[in-house]
């Protein structure tokens, strides 16, 4: 799958932990859209109000450290974020995001992207494109098997297909 519609980049720094993505006082919530209302609440209060479907989160090293709860990736999905580009991800966030079907790209040059730039994640080619500057950054494509998981919307839909319990469309 290629995310081909350009979208605005919301740029964050290094070591953004799950508490900064979804402050822990909101973890009693479990609905993605309700969680989305509090995403980055303390760090960038305007995020939840202004983020639109099809936009991207861009970050530095070690995005998503901290709690093993799924609230952080859920809140980003609830906000309609199309994917996260970071220089590196914390392991549990990585696993939870894949399991929930949130596309991720590890991109060493993510720091070249500026807040508000229009970007696309080209998952097939393993690249992030910056439409503001015309630059193309190499990004590690997900291994084929994980890409399949993400394409299907995460571990639950993937399992349903394997079991043959998916609703036929």
């Amino acid at each position: 799958m290629t995310v081909d519609e350009p979208g605005r980049a919301w740029v964050f720094g290094d070591d953004i932990d799950t508490d900064q993505i979804t402050p822990s006082r909101f973890i009693v919530l479990s609905d993605p859209e309700e969680l989305a209302e509090h995403a980055f609440n303390d760090l960038r209060p305007e995020f939840s109000e202004k983020v639109r479907e099809g936009e991207f989160v861009v970050a530095g090293e070690n995005f998503g450290g901290g709690s093993s709860r799924e609230h952080a990736p859920l809140s980003l999905l609830g906000a309609g974020v199309d994917g996260v580009v970071a220089q590196s991800f914390a392991r549990i966030f990585f696993r939870n995001a894949i399991n929930l079907g949130l596309p991720l790209m590890i991109c060493p040059e993510a720091h070249r992207i500026e807040d508000g730039d229009e970007i696309t994640m080209d998952l097939d080619a393993g690249a992030v494109r910056n439409h503001e500057t015309g630059e193309r950054y190499d990004a590690e494509p997900l291994p084929e098997f994980l890409q399949e998981l993400v394409d299907e919307g995460g571990l639950k839909p993937y399992t349903k297909r394997k079991l043959g319990t998916a609703e036929q469309s």
Binding site: E70, R91, R95, K156
Partner: protein
Amino acid sequence: MTAKTITEKILSEKSGRDVTAGAYVEAIVDSMVTHDVTGPLAIEVFEDVTDEKSELPTADDIVFTLDHHAPADGVEAANNHNILREFAAEYGTHQYEINDGICHQVMIEEGFVEPGQLVIGADSHSTTYGGLGAFGTGVGSTDLGTTFATGELWFRVPETIRFEVQGDLPDGVYAKDLILKFIGDVGFDGATYKTAEYAGSAIRELPIHQRLVLANMAIEMGGKAGIVEPDERVETFLEDQATLDVSVDPDLASDDDATYEATYTYEGSDLAPQVSKPSNPENAVDVDDVVGTGIDQVFVGTCTNGRYEDIRVVADVLAGEQVAPGTRLIVVPASKSVYEKCLETGVLETLVEAGATFQSAGCGACAGYHQGVLGDDDVCLATANRNFPGREGSMDSQVYLGSPATAGATALYGEITDPRDLETTRYGDHVSADVGVVR
């Protein structure tokens, strides 16, 4: 074939592919466990991905325990217990009751873990199974619920960090001291996503209950797994404890030229008892540094150090004595069979006479839910695995972590005490047969 670590061998075997660190695999899971906190969510996921009346072919590999809030400490906990009981009755999964014990101890005693197996649990201390030479790792409820349905799950094959301890350990130094030392040296995220592999002559000499401690706390340095290469001690242990007849494949060990991300080496005789200061397990120091710190509560138990041999050490220290005035001692056996052994051997009587509060088997106060919660400014020394702020109660309480011997000595004097300073008769020769390292 490329040289492999034991981790790479197990994940190659379970995925049917020849893989090394960094590869992503789908692997067959041998058994899985969940408890009263994470179980209801896993069941929800399972019901979501399957048809209403689906069969559960993996039922015999699924274990439910009631340990975190057991006996139920509130209506919500009681309802969660019933959710698991009802599911088990319908699908035929293994259901353990309140007082049967902590998930990880039940898995081991009941024979759900064998060397070379891949075992997952919806609990971060599922790394414990590495003490038997299995690859054990904690997963989320989504992972577990889908694995109920399919029997397999995706993994990234982790790199390995090796901790080697050679020679003999001094008196009063246990596996708990070793693991606190390792965590102190690499930091609480020093092995993130890696396997911590424990090796060397001192580790090979450790009895199984102490190897389990090393594997259990791998997660406190971020590890995905902790593992000790299995040997004939594992065979004997499984035969005695779980009436399992297994023979360890001699190839189930890391190859000599396997690739390690890092290797840390220690000389056993250099090591001293360790205590982790509040509020992170990585704050490990030699016990000397904190001797004399006043303690309000000593907590002996958990999936780390709630086994018979651990409780026995505390009883030997306190035999015929009293817990220091102003200090509370709470003892929680890790399982019903540990409880029974304490009863049969007089350990329970010794402890109760010494003034201890002896509770039913389970997690007890470990996660601060009930049965021994700390108040503001309370200072505790626990044989547990975590001492994060508020872990055992108030955000203003403080928790030190140490071995059962350190806990026993501390209960006796009401302040952190070096177990090596006790008269040797207190844990003399009669203990060594059972307890292993104490001489």
